[in-house]
Amino acid sequence: MKKLEIIIESVERRKVCRLLEQLNVSGYTIIDDVMGKGRHVTRSGSELSNILKNSLIIVVETEEVIDKIIDLLKKEVLSYYSGKLFLSDVNIID
């Protein structure tokens, strides 16, 4: 299985979740108060409009589903908003 960590501006969190549900992923986990610094502005989380704050979304799925997610996110979200995708190997314990 693969673990995809999606770091995205909090304003876009709802949309990313909607896209994940469209793809029928088996589940996802969200950490909502995440700060960060990248090529764009520093997201210190300290203002009221939620645009300078990140959310971290974790999805563990098969490689096939993860590929679909990546494609969809690239098209619908990451071409306009700042964000990062980190992919790694993981085992789900059942």
Partner: protein, 327 residues
């Protein structure tokens, strides 16, 4: 002039403004004061409820004034013209690209709740009356500028802007049902329904501590503004100047317009403060969704770190003295 200076000094010497300054300084000297985000968020909600509710109760007492229709018209005119003027100045004088023009004009066309609240505080300290429905006017003026600005971007951009279709749905929701609009209108209507009797039961929470809570909130706003001031360089000279002059242009225009409508001094001040104020809660979220290519470092810094402090410290007494001068 002397009255302006004395007003400005008096305004500067209120606990609210001074706590804003304290917050600002504390960030500059890198003090570790930290007001948790949960608190800032609930304080912003408190102000919208308190302002809306109080307005509604006022309306329930005085009934709806003849001036209401004029006021709605006025609010819409300002909501549409301010972003247009801002856009044109940015584009033709500043030579800024269309997308950033649109993003910035959306902010300056929309309104800032806390600036409005500070103006109310200013009027109260001078015992000047204003209409209860002005809170509703603020709610009315939140969204139009955002739509106008996006329309302007579309019109002026020959190549298709790659705003996704789904974004429009999000944007409409974000703008019409955004939290400030819903809270302000909702509380206004609740205030109208429950009237004076309902007011007496919540007064010790929604009215009495209002100025004190504003003190704490402005301390926080000062820190947020102070943090952003470091990005001032990215904004540049033209945009920095714009952030200081655009409010004055909007305010003067509004004073003249209100004069034509013959509004009271209180209402005129509130309208001009609304016109002069620049949004930093609702507009950034909407613009980030509608115009993701625009640079947040511009619009957030200008709104929050330049225009907002200018308005609450100098703008309000300045617009007040302009109104007095012209009338």
């Amino acid at each position: 002039m002397t009255e302006f200076i004395s007003d400005a000094l008096q305004n500067l010497a209120t606990p609210m403004i001074l706590f804003f300054v304290l917050g600002f300084i504390s960030t500059i000297i890198k003090s570790d004061i930290e007001i948790p985000q949960a608190i800032s968020k609930v304080l912003a909600i408190y102000f919208m409820i308190a302002i809306g509710f109080k307005g509604g109760v006022e309306i329930s007492k005085t009934g709806i004034d003849d001036g209401l229709y004029d006021s709605v018209l006025n609010a819409l005119i300002i909501g549409v013209t301010t972003p247009l003027i801002a856009f044109l100045i940015l584009k033709y004088i500043g030579r800024i690209d269309n997308i950033n023009c649109g993003a910035i004009s959306a902010h300056y066309g929309s309104v800032s709740v806390v600036t409005f609240v500070t103006a109310i505080s200013f009027l109260n300290s001078k015992s000047i009356e204003y209409n209860g429905y002005m809170a509703g006017m603020m709610a009315l003026m939140e969204s139009p500028a955002i739509f106008v600005s996006i329309l302007l971007v579309r019109i002026f951009s020959s190549q298709k802007i790659s705003t996704l279709k789904s974004n429009y749905v999000d944007l409409l929701k974000e703008s019409l049902f955004n939290s400030s609009v819903v809270l302000l209108f909702g509380s206004l209507i609740i205030g109208m329904i429950v009237g004076g009797k309902g007011m007496s039961s919540v007064k010790p929470f929604l009215v009495d501590p209002f100025n004190g809570v504003l003190t704490l909130f402005l301390l926080d706003m000062g820190m947020i503004a102070g943090q952003r001031i470091s990005e001032f360089k990215k904004v540049g000279l033209f945009l920095g100047t714009f952030a200081l002059t655009m409010p004055i242009i909007s305010a003067v225009g509004t004073v003249l317009l209100c004069d034509a409508f013959a509004f009271s001094v209180g209402d005129t001040l509130l309208f001009s403060v609304l016109a002069a104020s620049s949004s930093y809660i609702a507009a950034p979220a909407a613009v980030r969704i509608a115009l993701p290519q625009a640079n947040p470092a511009y619009y957030i810094t200008m709104s929050l770190a330049i225009t907002f402090p200018f308005n609450i410290m100098f703008g309000i007494p300045l617009y007040y003295s302009i109104i007095n001068y012209l009338s």
